[in-house]
Amino acid sequence: MIRDHHVPRGSTLFDVNRHSFLRILVFSAVWWVLTGSDISSWIVGIPAVLIASKLSLMLSPPSQCPLSLLGALHFIPFFLYQSFRGGIDVMRRTLLRQQLLDPGLVSYVTILPRGSARIFFVNTISLLPGTLSAKLDENQVTVHTLDRGMPVWANIQALEYHVAALMNISTQKKNCL
């Protein structure tokens, strides 16, 4: 089981600055992508980036477990491949003459901590082949599946493992500090 992370009280000034700096960098990149090389757009862009960074820090405070680069390198191909399979699966079921549906609800208890990891997990379930997250109650996710014959549990477990690796969450009792 994983305990919820608590943001440490009295985090040093350096940490706060590093987090704000990262967000400012990310939002600046988004602004640059949106507006292109037009320098005068930064008259609006700089205040917008600063406000967005401040708001994002208020709405979602920096977590203790930052994204893992290695986890991301594993997650992105996994996600792309699985969502492609999901698309093919839906195409097969819609376009064939006889309908291949055997829907049902499956319950799954996640070990991911509450907060961004769990929300990310629930949202990505809907993009995997044959599964759709219908309800989230604390750590219990209700999943709707198109075909009860599919290995729904194994698929969700694989996703959970990848999300844990992405968010630097240990699946053992020990937490990252």
């Binding site: 988004v30 992508v33 949106l34 292109g36 090389s37 792309l80 969502s83 492609f84 999901g86 698309g87 093919i88 699966d89 839906v90 195409m91 079921r93 819609t94 376009l95 309908q99 549906l101 055997d102 829907p103 049902g104 609800l105 629930v122 949202n123 990505t124 809907s126 993009l127 082949p129 044959g130 759709l132 997250s133 219908a134 309800k135 989230l136 209700t142 709707h144 198109l146």
Partner: protein
């Protein structure tokens, strides 16, 4: 990007291929919306098929654009659509569950 005319041509044709590949996904999403029996199964069809279709079309357009800035913009669009569609899909399914709409079952 400094590319010769031939590589540009190859990239452009690859892009066209990706766009053509994406179209059947959109078609199947819409067919699923009409053919599938209940709200949950329809959500499956819409979110999954459309996301893959859009992914293919974004890839195709990025290859055709021949510019990194446009590629980044297209990827950002795809990412935002992914987030929006999976979140709204979950919210629609959740509100259907709260209204006690029973999922269709084969029987």
């Amino acid at each position: 990007m400094a590319a010769t005319k031939e590589t540009m041509e190859i990239l452009y044709n690859c892009g066209t291929l990706f766009i053509i590949l994406g179209l059947p996904f959109f078609l199947s999403g819409t067919v699923g919306l009409i053919r599938f029996p209940d709200i949950y199964t329809r959500l499956h069809a819409l979110t999954k098929a459309d996301n893959v279709g859009l992914g293919c079309i974004v890839c195709g357009l990025a290859l055709q654009s021949g510019s990194w800035a446009v590629t980044a913009k297209l990827l950002l669009i795809w990412l935002l659509v992914l987030v929006a569609s999976s979140a709204s899909c979950h919210l629609i399914a959740r509100s259907a569950m709260q209204k006690n709409i029973e999922p269709w079952t084969r029987s």
